[in-house]
């Protein structure tokens, strides 16, 4: 090893900007007693239908357990004991391999293996579609990925508000997200000079919206009776070549104000969209007001459980639209719905 290699290696170890900012914030505003944030309470699981679940406590000669010992923190080894529980759905096998219990905490090692495809990757995520039934709170992290065998090892930690006494815990996953892609500073090829200054729109009130944030344009928007014009959805459908789960469902100038409406396919969760403008200097201009809403069966705007549409309303001079271009930041992923569930007892280690 050369000195410069050693230097470069150490030099590369730096906190990123998010870490730096987080640490500085704590230093400038220290808590009286620093307490690690408890994980939030999780949604309780429902019924398993298509899984094979067994929670047999078994002997130590399990290949999966032996394989696990090579991957984990050696300090954990003396606490864990092997367990067996398998569930296969959509060609993905979930297996609980080992568990340790200590007072009100349980730590489990669970693997996910793709038996048919290439869906278990390092960007594996579940968003909110996982739960640990039987515990007050819990979290998981990916600690190992065997790319050759397409197998991920998860470290699952569950906490209770009192000591565990042999309860049966169930770790359940309902959606696997993978192949995450980000498209940042994506220029949306709509010529703002060509858009309508007399688009079709609907007058709506704030009680019909799922959520809305407003700036100067609707500074007085406090009353539920306040009328806000919303573009009629799907009058134009401008699609993106790479992004299949969003499109511009309408765009136009209403009463001198630029509105851009985005449709998002809620059948695919985990998709993120943000629309903005750039001026002739390349400066980013965010929307003054953003409104999310849905349509009912009569194509009327209603307050939904999930938002299908977002309307971005910009505070700019619409007499000079050739000074602006439309951009977006998009986050997409693939989604696999299924029912993966393994159970294990919170017994003494």
């Amino acid at each position: 090893m050369k000195k410069e290699d050693l230097y470069n290696s150490i030099d590369s170890v730096v906190p990123n900007e998010v870490q730096k900012s987080r640490m500085l914030k704590e230093i400038l505003n220290p808590k009286m007693n620093y307490v690690k944030t408890k994980p939030k309470k999780l949604v309780i699981a429902v019924i398993a239908i298509f899984c094979l679940i067994s929670t047999t406590v078994i002997a130590t000669n399990i290949p999966a357990f032996q394989s696990l010992l090579e991957k984990i923190n050696p300090d954990m080894v003396k606490f864990i004991k092997p367990v067996e529980g398998v569930c296969i759905d959509q060609g993905i096998k979930m297996e609980v391999v080992a568990v340790a219990r200590y007072d009100n905490m349980v730590k489990a090692y669970i693997t996910l293996q793709d038996l048919e495809g290439d869906r278990i990757r390092e960007d594996l995520s579940f968003l909110d579609y996982y739960s640990i039934k039987g515990a007050w709170s819990g979290r998981w992290s990916l600690i190992d990925l065997d790319k050759e065998n397409k197998k991920a090892t998860l470290f699952v930690e569950a906490e209770n508000d009192k000591k565990f006494e042999g309860e049966n815990l169930i770790f359940k996953v309902e959606n696997i997200f993978y192949d995450h892609k980000k498209y940042e500073d994506y220029e949306i090829g709509i010529d703002l000079n060509e858009i309508s200054h007399d688009p079709s729109y609907i007058n709506a009130t704030t009680e019909q919206f799922m959520s809305w944030s407003h700036g100067k344009l609707y500074g007085g928007l406090l009353s539920e009776e306040q009328i806000v014009p919303i573009l009629s959805p799907h009058t134009i459908d401008f699609k993106f070549s790479n992004i299949k789960t969003s499109m511009i469902s309408n765009i136009g100038v209403i009463d001198g104000i630029l509105h851009v409406q985005v449709w998002r396919d809620t059948a695919f969760d985990g998709q993120g969209v943000s629309i903005y403008l750039k001026d002739s200097k390349g400066e980013r201009i965010d929307a003054d007001t953003t409104i999310t809403f849905m349509l009912d069966e009569l194509k009327k705007i209603k307050n939904p459980e999930y938002s299908y549409y977002s309307e971005y309303i910009f505070d700019i001079n619409t007499d000079n639209l050739d000074d602006y271009k439309l951009f977006g930041d998009f986050h997409t992923s693939k989604q696999l719905k299924g029912n993966w569930e393994v159970s294990f007892k919170a017994e003494d280690s």
Partner: protein, 164 residues
Amino acid sequence: MEQSSLYTNDEIIDIYNRNVNTVYKICLMYLKNIPDAEDAVQNIFLKLIQGNHRFKNLEHEKAWLILTSQNHCKNILKHWWKKQRVDIDNISEISYEENNTFDDIWKQILLLPNKYKIVIYLYYYEGYSTEEISEILNIKSPTIRSQLSTARKKLKIILEEDIE
């Protein structure tokens, strides 16, 4: 932040920006995981601010932080090892993302005994002489030279390559 320190917020930010990378590297070398290293970084800067330490110059400030980082991390590790058993709730796993952020040389540095890590870091990265390291760590020069020599051999053995 309530002003219980001689430092203004702007001064704190300046000190932090000058030294955070150094303190972070040392803490991560000792504690080996990012969350604990971040906690330690915060506590070390808080010690500086709340202790109202003032320094002759920037080198003095940096040296104080290096020594304090080392001592803080050693205290943390000593506290863990003093227990009759390691409580399971103190054991964590390094995430796949964290584990794959660092190269093999860094990982081998982490495998060194703690007393050799800091001398390797100060000598090969910060560029201090053995005399300067001796002053910073308050350890005799011959001991520093001996630790450096042993650390070189260990790294060479681990990586099976020559350190020039």
